[in-house]
C-alpha cells in the first residue's frame, strides 16, 4: 500500500481528491500551526501557505515540535515549512515571515484559497482574518487553546456566526485603581503595582498610575462591578473625603519626587554608591514612608482586607526568614527571602542604570524576558506583598503573572488541530457542491448539545436545516474540556449558530468601491459615495480602528476641526496608513443606526465618457438595523467568560469599561467551559511586544483606566 491508500479508503476517493486539490492558508505557525501543518501534509493536502511574524523561542520547544533548539531565533513559518515538507515530499508549502495584517495579505490574496485555518493566539489577528474571510467569502476554521482547554469553530459568511458576531472580552483582567494603589490583597495586585513603579522609574512616568492625579475613591457610590471592587470600596468607606483625597495626592507627589527628582544625573549616574543611594531612597519612599502616611490617613486601614506594615530597609535586610526550602534549588523557582528581595531591589535598579541601558531611561517598557526588569518587578512586588501580608511568589511565578503567560501544552494543540482538519475535510467535501456519495453527506446532524449521550445518527435535528448548498451543514463547533460534560463528553460538538444580523462585521452587506485612490480625496468619498450614493446622514469612517472622519452630535470643537482637516487629503494620504487597494473601511451612521464595510479597489482607467464620475460602487445598499437590534443580548453574560489570560487591566472603580467590552454571549450549553476565544498557538506574538497603553475603549470619561500588557 502506498502513502495515501488509507486516506482514499477512509475518506472516499472523491473527498480525498478534493483534499489533494484544495488550496489552504494556515495563519500562524506556533503551537496549533505546527500541529496543523503536520496533519495537513499527512492527510493529502498539497497546496499550503503559512504566515507567521514570529521567531522561535526556547519556551516554544515543549509543543511547537517542528522546531529544535538550533532554530531558536529563526522565523517560525520558514522552519515549520522545511520540517513539514520533510514529512511528505509531495507537498508544496509556501511560507511567509510577516504580519497577516500586512497589505500584501489582503482580500485578493485570500481569494486565491479554498479554505483558511486559523492558528492564532490573539483576538485582534483573529478578527482581522475573520473579516478578510467574510469579505473574500471563504470558509474559516478558527481555533484557540489555553492549557487543557480549547475550542474550534467554523465561520462562513451568511451561514454561521462570524468571529465578531459576539463581542469579545479581549480577556482582560480588571482591577480597581485603588486596589493597586492602596488596598492590594492578592499577589497580582502587587505585581501590577510593581510594573507601575517600573514605569515610573524607568519608563514614561506620566503613564504610570503612581504619578497620576486621579483619586482612588472616585465614585464609591456608583459601584456595580466585581466583588473585589465593591469590597475594596467598602473598606475605605470613611476615608473617602475630599480632604483625604488631597492628602493621598500629596503622598503620591512625594513618591514621584523621590523617584524623579532624585535620579542620579551626569557623573552621579556612573557612581555606584549614588545609584544605590537613589534606589534606597525609592525603597524608603514606597515601602516605608508611604505606608506610614497611608496608615494614618486611612485610620489604620480599618475594615480593609489586608493591613499594611511599613518596612524599613534595615528591617528587611535583617530579616531572617528562610527562603522557601521546599522547591528546587533554582533561584527563579523558589520564593526569595525578604533580605534577598531587598538586595535584589537595589541590585536590579543598579543594573537598569548601567551605561548600556541608561539611554533608554524614561522610555523603558516592562518585558517579561528582560532579566533586570523582571528581577525588579519580582523584588518590588514581593516586598509590597510582605508589607500587606500577602503570599509571596517566586520569580518564575511572577514572570507568568506579570507577562500574562498563556499556558500551553502539546496535547491540547494536537486535539484542536486534529478537529480543525476534520472540519476542513467536511467543508471541502461540501464546497464544490458535488453530491458525492460518501458518508459525509449521509450523516444526520449533530446531537444538539450537552446531553448528547450518543454520537450515533438516529436523532434528527430541525435546526440543521441548512440549505443543500450550504458548505457548513455538516460543520460543528467543538469544545475541548478537562472534565467530561454530561454523560461523558470530552469533546463537545455543538451546532453552529446562525449569523447575528446586528454583527458589525458580517451583519450587513459589504460594498466595494473602485476608484483612483491617488486622486480621490476623503471629501470626495464622503460626498459622492457616502452621501449621494448610499444616502448617509452623518457618516463616521474608521480605518484600522482609527476614526479618520466623523460628524454629528457629541463631537468636540477640536475633533471637528481635526476631521475637517482630513477631507482635502487624497485617499492614500489619509491618516492611519492611508486608504488604498484592499483597504476595508468601517462606515457608520449613528443617526441611522447603520453600519457597513466599504472595500476599496484601486482603479484608474475609467472611460471618462461613459463614467464621468470615475468610480464604480457594487454591493447591496445597507439596511437600517434599528428595528432589529437587541440590546440585552449584548449585555448578557458580561462576566461570564473572563478567560484567564490576556491583558491585565486596571480600572478606576468598577467600570463601564467592562460593560463596553465584556459582553461575549455564549450558548448556554457551553457554560461549563470556562474559556472562550483564548489566546494560544504562537503565544509570544501577543505577550512581549505590546505597549502598555491607556485604554481607549472607555467612552465614559473614566480617567483611571489603564491596560497593562
Amino acid at each position: 500500500m502506498g502513502r495515501y491508500a488509507h486516506l482514499e479508503r477512509a475518506l472516499g476517493a472523491e473527498v480525498f481528491a478534493e483534499v489533494t486539490q484544495a488550496r489552504v492558508l494556515v495563519v500562524g505557525a506556533g503551537g496549533i500551526g505546527c500541529e496543523l501543518l503536520k496533519d495537513l501534509v499527512l492527510t493529502g493536502f498539497r497546496d499550503i501557505e503559512v504566515i507567521d511574524l514570529d521567531t522561535i523561542d526556547t519556551s516554544n520547544l515543549n509543543r511547537q515540535f517542528l522546531f529544535r533548539s538550533k532554530h531558536v531565533g529563526k522565523p517560525k513559518s520558514l522552519v515549520a515549512r522545511e520540517a513539514a515538507m520533510g514529512f511528505n515530499p509531495d507537498v508544496n508549502i509556501k511560507a511567509f515571515l510577516g504580519n497577516i495584517k500586512a497589505d500584501e495579505f489582503g482580500i485578493q490574496y485570500f481569494q486565491t484559497f479554498d479554505i483558511v485555518l486559523n492558528a492564532l493566539d490573539n483576538v485582534n489577528a483573529r478578527q482581522h482574518v475573520n473579516r478578510l474571510c467574510l469579505a473574500a467569502n471563504l470558509p474559516l476554521i478558527d481555533s484557540g487553546t489555553t492549557g487543557y482547554l480549547g475550542q474550534t469553530t467554523v465561520i462562513k459568511k451568511g451561514e454561521t456566526q462570524c468571529y465578531d458576531c459576539q463581542p469579545k472580552t479581549e480577556n482582560k483582567k480588571s482591577f480597581p485603581i485603588c486596589t493597586i494603589r492602596s488596598t492590594p490583597d492578592k499577589p497580582v495586585h502587587c505585581i501590577v503595582w510593581a510594573k507601575e513603579l517600573f514605569k515610573l522609574m524607568f519608563g514614561n512616568p506620566d503613564e504610570s498610575m503612581l504619578s497620576g492625579s486621579e483619586d482612588d475613591f472616585a465614585d464609591d457610590g456608583a459601584q456595580d462591578g466585581g466583588d473585589e471592587a465593591a469590597e475594596a470600596g467598602k473598606g475605605e468607606g470613611d476615608a473617602a473625603s475630599g480632604e483625604d483625597q488631597q492628602k493621598e495626592r500629596e503622598i503620591r507627589s512625594q513618591i514621584v519626587d523621590a523617584v524623579l527628582k532624585a535620579k542620579p544625573e551626569g557623573a552621579d549616574a556612573d557612581d555606584a554608591d549614588k545609584v544605590r543611594a537613589y534606589a534606597r531612597g525609592v525603597f524608603d519612599a514606597v515601602f516605608d514612608n508611604e505606608i506610614h502616611f497611608k496608615l494614618k490617613l486611612r485610620n489604620g486601614y480599618k475594615g480593609a482586607k489586608k493591613k499594611p506594615t511599613p518596612l524599613p530597609f534595615d528591617e528587611a535586610m535583617a530579616a531572617t526568614d528562610a527562603s522557601d526550602p521546599s522547591s528546587s534549588g533554582l533561584r527563579d523557582q523558589r520564593v526569595l527571602s525578604l533580605n534577598e528581595c531587598a538586595e535584589l531591589f537595589l541590585a536590579s535598579v543598579a543594573k537598569l542604570w548601567a551605561p548600556a541601558r541608561r539611554k533608554d531611561m524614561g522610555s523603558m517598557e516592562f518585558d517579561k524576558d528582560d532579566r533586570e526588569a523582571l528581577d525588579f518587578v519580582a523584588a518590588a512586588s514581593n516586598l509590597r506583598s510582605h508589607i500587606f501580608g500577602i503570599e509571596r511568589k517566586s520569580i518564575f511565578e511572577t514572570k507568568g503573572i506579570a507577562g500574562n503567560i498563556i499556558h500551553a501544552i502539546a496535547t491540547t494543540n494536537a486535539i484542536v488541530a486534529g478537529i480543525q482538519i476534520v472540519e476542513a475535510i467536511k467543508i471541502l467535501a461540501r464546497l464544490k457542491g458535488k453530491k458525492i456519495s460518501h458518508p459525509y453527506f449521509t450523516s444526520a446532524p449533530r446531537p444538539e448539545s450537552s446531553n448528547s449521550s450518543s454520537s450515533s445518527s438516529s436523532s434528527s435535528n430541525p435546526d440543521a436545516s441548512a440549505s443543500p448548498t450550504s458548505v457548513t451543514s455538516d460543520s460543528t463547533a467543538v469544545w475541548v474540556v478537562r472534565d467530561p460534560i454530561g454523560s461523558g463528553n470530552l469533546l463537545q460538538a455543538t451546532n453552529l449558530d446562525k449569523p447575528n444580523p446586528n454583527c458589525y462585521s458580517c451583519g450587513n452587506s459589504t460594498m466595494t468601491l473602485s476608484v483612483d485612490a491617488t486622486s480621490w480625496t476623503l471629501g470626495d468619498l464622503v460626498d459622492k459615495i457616502l452621501r449621494k450614493s448610499v444616502g448617509i446622514n452623518a457618516p463616521s469612517i474608521m480605518l484600522k480602528s482609527s476614526e479618520i472622519y466623523a460628524e454629528g452630535d457629541g463631537l468636540e470643537e477640536d475633533e471637528i476641526e481635526l476631521f475637517k482637516a482630513n477631507l482635502p487629503k487624497t485617499l492614500v494620504d489619509c491618516p492611519a496608513g492611508g486608504i488604498k487597494d484592499g483597504t476595508i473601511l468601517d462606515i457608520e451612521d449613528f443617526s441611522q443606526s447603520l453600519s457597513f464595510k466599504l472595500i476599496i479597489s484601486q482603479k484608474d482607467d475609467f472611460d471618462k465618457d461613459a463614467n464621468p464620475d470615475q468610480f464604480e460602487l457594487s454591493g447591496d445598499a445597507p439596511v437600517s438595523k434599528a428595528a432589529e437590534s437587541s440590546p440585552d443580548e449584548a449585555q448578557s453574560n458580561a462576566r461570564g467568560d473572563d478567560a484567564d489570560d490576556g491583558d491585565l487591566e486596571v480600572v478606576e472603580g468598577p467600570t463601564s469599561a467592562t460593560a463596553a467590552v465584556a459582553s461575549k454571549k455564549r450558548p448556554a450549553e457551553n457554560a461549563a467551559v470556562p474559556l472562550d476565544e483564548s489566546p494560544s498557538g504562537s503565544d509570544s506574538a501577543s505577550n512581549g511586544s505590546k505597549k502598555p497603553k491607556v485604554s481607549e475603549d472607555v467612552t465614559t470619561g473614566d480617567n483611571g483606566v489603564i491596560c497593562l500588557d
Binding site: L42, S452, S455
Partner: protein
C-alpha cells in the same frame, strides 16, 4: 529524584506553569513503553517526549510505505528497516533533554517473558495491531502490568473512529489543577482513589456492552472484540462478511456516523489510521498518561472513543458500573474560580 535544571525550566516553561514543578519532576522521572508504532501511539511518542518523559519504543515490524504515509518519525529510506529503531532517532531529536530508546522485541505469550518485557515502566501503551489483534494477549499484558504496578493503555483505530482502553488499577489522584491560570495547583486537597476494571473485565463485559446503552461507537469496538475473541486469525480484511454475520448473530448493528455497513467498518480496522484522527485521540491518550504519572486531575475511567465524523469524544465506564468518583460540590468549584 534529581532536581530540575535551568535548561529544563527554559524548555518546559509553559507546561510547568500549567502543572507545576512537582508534576514535571514526576514526568522527568517516569518511564513509558510505547509498544506498537501505529495510529495514536505515534502521537503519544510526540506528546510524551515533549512533556519530558523517558520513552522506550517497541515494535517488531518493519517500515512499509504505508507507515511512512502517516508516521512522521519515518522516512522513505527507512522502508524495510525496523520501525522502532528508525522512529526512535527522530523522536529523540524532538526533545534532546529527554531519553528515548528502542526495542524490536515481538510480543511474547509466555507470561514470564511478557513480564520481563514490561518490567521497569510506569505506564505501557500498546497498539492492538502490533499484537496481531489478539485480545487475549492484550488481557495478559494488562494482567502483567497490574502485577508490576504499571498503568496499561490499549489503542485501536478504525478509519475515522479511534478508541483507547485505560487501566490504572487503583489510581490515587493527589490534586486537581486550579481552574484559573495563575495558580499551578491547590494544596491541601484530599487524595481521591479511582478503581479501574482490568482488560479481562472489559472483555467479559463485551456481551453486555453490545446490548446495553453504550454509544454505538463503543459497540463497534465491542463487536470487533467479540468477533476476534479466541480467533485472532480472523483479523484479516477478507473476514468482513463473517464479521457482518457475527454482528447479526449477536444482534448488534450499531449505527456509527461515517460508516455505512459493518463490512466497511471491519475493513477500516486494517488500514492505517488517519493522522488527524490519531492527533485527537493521541492527545487525549497522552493526557491520561500524564495524569497517571503526575497523579494530578481525575483520570478517565476507562474507555474513550473519538469519532471524527461527529467531532465528539466520549468516555464510558466499561463494565457499566458507574463507580462515580466523589463529585466535588458546585460551591467548591465556584470558590476556586473566585480565588483566581
Amino acid at each position: 529524584m534529581s532536581a530540575i535544571t535551568g535548561d529544563q525550566v527554559a524548555v518546559y516553561d509553559r507546561q510547568l506553569r500549567l502543572w507545576g514543578v512537582q508534576a514535571q519532576q514526576r514526568l522527568l522521572n517516569a518511564k513509558v513503553l510505547i509498544w506498537g508504532l501505529e495510529g495514536s501511539n505515534v502521537e503519544a511518542c510526540k506528546n510524551l517526549v515533549l512533556a519530558g518523559i523517558a520513552l522506550t519504543l517497541r515494535d517488531h515490524r518493519t517500515v512499509t510505505a504505508a507507515d511512512v504515509g502517516f508516521n512522521y518519525f519515518l522516512r522513505p529510506e527507512d522502508i524495510g528497516k525496523n520501525r522502532s529503531e528508525c522512529a526512535s532517532k527522530r523522536v529523540q531529536e524532538m526533545n534532546p533533554l529527554g531519553s528515548v530508546s528502542s526495542s524490536s522485541e515481538g510480543p511474547a505469550k509466555n507470561p514470564e517473558k511478557l513480564k520481563e518485557l514490561l518490567k521497569g515502566f510506569d505506564v505501557v501503551i500498546v497498539g492492538l495491531s502490533c499484537l496481531g489483534f489478539d485480545f487475549e494477549l492484550a488481557a495478559s499484558m494488562d494482567a502483567a502490568c497490574r502485577s508490576l504496578g504499571a498503568g496499561f493503555l490499549l489503542t485501536v483505530a478504525a478509519g475515522e473512529i479511534a478508541f483507547f482502553f485505560s487501566d490504572l488499577h487503583e489510581h490515587i489522584m493527589q490534586e486537581r489543577s486550579a481552574q484559573g491560570s495563575t495558580d499551578v495547583g491547590q494544596t491541601g486537597q484530599n487524595p481521591e482513589t479511582f478503581s479501574f476494571p482490568s482488560f479481562s473485565d472489559w472483555l467479559a463485559a463485551v456481551p453486555a456492552l453490545l446490548t446495553g446503552k453504550s454509544d454505538d461507537s463503543f459497540k463497534l469496538f465491542g463487536l470487533f472484540a467479540s468477533f476476534l475473541r479466541g480467533k485472532a486469525e480472523r483479523a484479516v480484511p477478507s473476514a468482513a462478511a463473517d464479521f457482518e454475520a457475527h454482528c447479526q448473530e449477536v444482534k448488534c448493528q450499531p449505527k456509527v456516523d461515517g460508516l455505512q455497513t459493518m463490512q466497511q467498518a471491519f475493513g477500516h480496522f486494517f488500514v492505517e489510521p488517519l493522522v488527524h484522527v490519531a492527533s485527537v485521540l493521541g492527545g487525549l491518550l497522552s493526557q491520561e498518561v500524564i495524569k497517571a504519572i503526575t497523579r494530578k486531575d481525575p483520570p478517565l475511567v476507562n474507555s474513550v472513543c473519538f469519532n471524527a465524523h461527529t467531532g465528539a469524544a466520549l468516555v464510558e465506564h466499561c463494565p457499566a458500573k458507574p463507580a462515580a468518583p466523589v463529585k466535588r460540590k458546585a460551591e467548591e468549584d465556584v470558590a476556586d474560580l473566585l480565588d483566581d
